[in-house]
Amino acid sequence: MSLDSSADDFVVFDHVQKSYDGEVLVVKDLNLNIAKGEFVTMLGPSGSGKTTCLMMLAGFEVATHGDIRLGGKSINNIPPHKRGIGMVFQNYALFPHMTVGENLAFPLEVRGMNKSEREAKVKRALEMVQMGDFAGRRPAQLSGGQQQRIALARALVFDAELVLMDEPLGALDKQLREHMQYEIKHIHDNLGITVVYVTHDQSEALTMSDRVAVFNDGVIKQLAPPDDLYERPENAFVAQFIGENNKLLGTITGREGDIVSVDVEGGMTSKALAVNCGGVGEKTMLSIRPERVTLNSDGPNGTEALVKELIYLGDHIRCRMTVSGHDDFIVKVPNAAGHQHLVVGERTKVSWQTEDCRALDA
């Protein structure tokens, strides 16, 4: 999807900065274009500025500098209730003194919609989240998952084109959370709405999003589709934050096109894909995903490894070993038929393909 096309610039953050106290920037020069119908997730550790960005988009926080545009119009000076953005809050924020039906009718009521139309829309929205029978209940009488569905229906009932979700699944248990992820994704696909989703759960971000913006310290570290993000992290933070990552610190000794040779601390050398590293003589961090490491085979980049710990996880066995002085090197051994059994204390060999080893900023 081309970001140059103005039709795709449904939501635009244009050099947005935000500071609460005039001393520290919580959001530093944020530029982000979101296309209509896209599902974009803002992912990052707490305090990284992702929720602030969402609140600025919703209108509850004012940008200290820069412009936020929605559908081509600057919304900096539009109060939240005129933005027409649906929002799902972390704790659902269902009005406890209203029934489910009244909660859903609220946005229609304040828009002056007549009663029969309201009822039809509420009914449709409830059916969309499979909660058709619950219109007369109070939020307190619903389970967390049910409340979550109602909150979703309420954000959608007034046909908002843009829906913001602020860690909506944070309070649910794992199984329900995964189930709801699919449901939200399906609703997004069916309605063609644009969703901006905030979470600190990377698996949630990877499953649901068209693109993920990884935030750290007020800056977007990488904005990419989930597979790119995981397989081709552009910097050390993203590599470390998304998924499990083996890092090997070293110094660049030579460069050949996209390939650099690196002297890893501890004695070994490895070739790696130069992604985000300096020239010869500079420090770098090699990133290798645990599932891309092969055992007991003579690959291009191989070395001795000492098995320190084995954790049985059913579908695979997580094996921690010492590689070139780094004793937190993880290898995932698939629990396939006839796989070799490692023993703690055993010496073995590990190796990886050059293109699976990315040289990033140290």
């Binding site: 919703a58 209108g59 509850f60 109060p79 939240p80 209730h81 005129k82 933005r83 027409g84 953005i85 649906g86 929002m87 809050f89 972390q90 704790n91 924020a93 009005f95 406890p96 003194h97 609220f106 946005p107 304040v110 828009r111 309420r154 954000a155 007034f158 913001l164």
Partner: protein, 550 residues
Amino acid sequence: MAPPVSNMTDATQTGPVLSADGTPLKRSLQKALFRQKMRALALIAPLLIFVLVTFILPIGDMLFRSVENQIVSATIPRTVVALETWDADSGESPGEEVYAAFYWDMAEAVEAKTHTRLGGRLNYEMTGLSSLFRKTGRGVSDIGEFYMDQLADLNDEWEEGAFLADALGAESWVSAATDAAANDVTAPAFVLRDGVADALPLTAHIYSRFAAQTLAEKDSPLEEDPWEAVYTALYQDLISNPNAASAVSPAAANLFTDAAAAVPNFENIGFKEQFIDIDKDWDDPEAWQTIQAYSSAYTAGYFLAAMDLMNTPDGIARVDEDERIYIRLFGRTIFMSLLITGTCILLGYPIAYLLSNLKVRHANLLMILVLLPFWTSLLVRTSAWKVLLQQQGVINDLLVWVGLVADDSRLQLINNQLGTVIAMTHILLPFMILPLFSVMKTIPPSYVRAAKSLGATNWTAFWRVYFPQSVPGIGAGSILVFILAIGYYITPELVGGTSGVFISNRIAYHISTSLNWGLAAALGAMLLVLVLALYWIYDKMVGIDNVKLG
């Protein structure tokens, strides 16, 4: 494992669930919880006993006084019985037998000095009875003296305490009392001579009372002058039983025989005439009607009075227009308490809102300012309002200086209802703010945000979403302020003047000044019932479950 499972299913279907050892599960549970309950009871016991002894029991006693009326039947029992047959509607004063009964009652009451208290009690119902009883108390002895003098004319011995004691007392008692007097110790309890009680019933009774009271005062009946009423009794007994001399001691028999022969020729005046002679009000049926009406041991009289009603021969009627004060006072108390509650809501709500939405540091500072009134004495605060509100006070001075008010028409801000409302609003405001604050603090800001994101304007978001959730706080604050206000005493007393006082000021007046504790208790009971009734209505309308203090 199959058999136990099937057993259990059977048990649940056919009878009570049993625990493992076969006892009913409920009993096992009760046993298990018993220790826990006992522990809880032991923990609350000190406070429970303290409250019971120092609070509940005195209040119960106080409330009992609002219907208790035993003083009449205890002080003048014979009169109460005699009056039972008197027709109060006859328009005539009762017959001689009532006056006779009244004489004997009063004779004892005067000696025990209880007649003034009875007069004081009856004075609540009919003004003037207090002084009538006082005056009658002084006159009653004259009646006895009238007969004493006539007996003394026969023989001076009659006036001697020792003579009558010897004549009426048992021989053993007389010798014991004589010994006691010689040894300067108190004589033993008085014992009548055999036969005296039958021969001289009135005398025996009244003399026994005299002797008992004299002994109680550590004096000897041998030395004290008998009550005058004893002579009235002697006269009556000798008239009806001329042979009474046989019952008294041999030494006194002669005098009694002489007296019995002489009494028919004594000058005699009926009790009725004598009482009317003391005060002509005793001829007026109204005093007797009052005594009759309030002769039962329990009375609704105090409650009637507390509702501006009174008991008349024609039934319950309202008191004169200019004497109706309590209903108006109750009405004023309720109205002003509601007004104060309303102003507290109006002033407290924005403050509480601000408090709950400020940063902690600023909120703490503001909270201190809110709580500041709590840390100064109530009396000091109220007095400060006097300084501020009086006509030559700070506020009036300021208004005059600004030019809003002319110097010769300074505002009357104190010693009226306005003063009470201003001062009490200030004093009770924290009781509104604190519950409001604690409720508002629990309303997450995300609710209002959600409302706004759904398209509600600031006002709609507040009114439809925030306000309904703060209602429990308003409820709690209102109950607190209203119930405190309705029983407030010091502030209305100091700044209320005459038009701004509450019912509690009247209760305090009856407790400490007029000493009409029965009426005070009745007013207090009505106030209590009123508060409970309002509480009940509140529960029905708002639901007490909706009240949150935090």
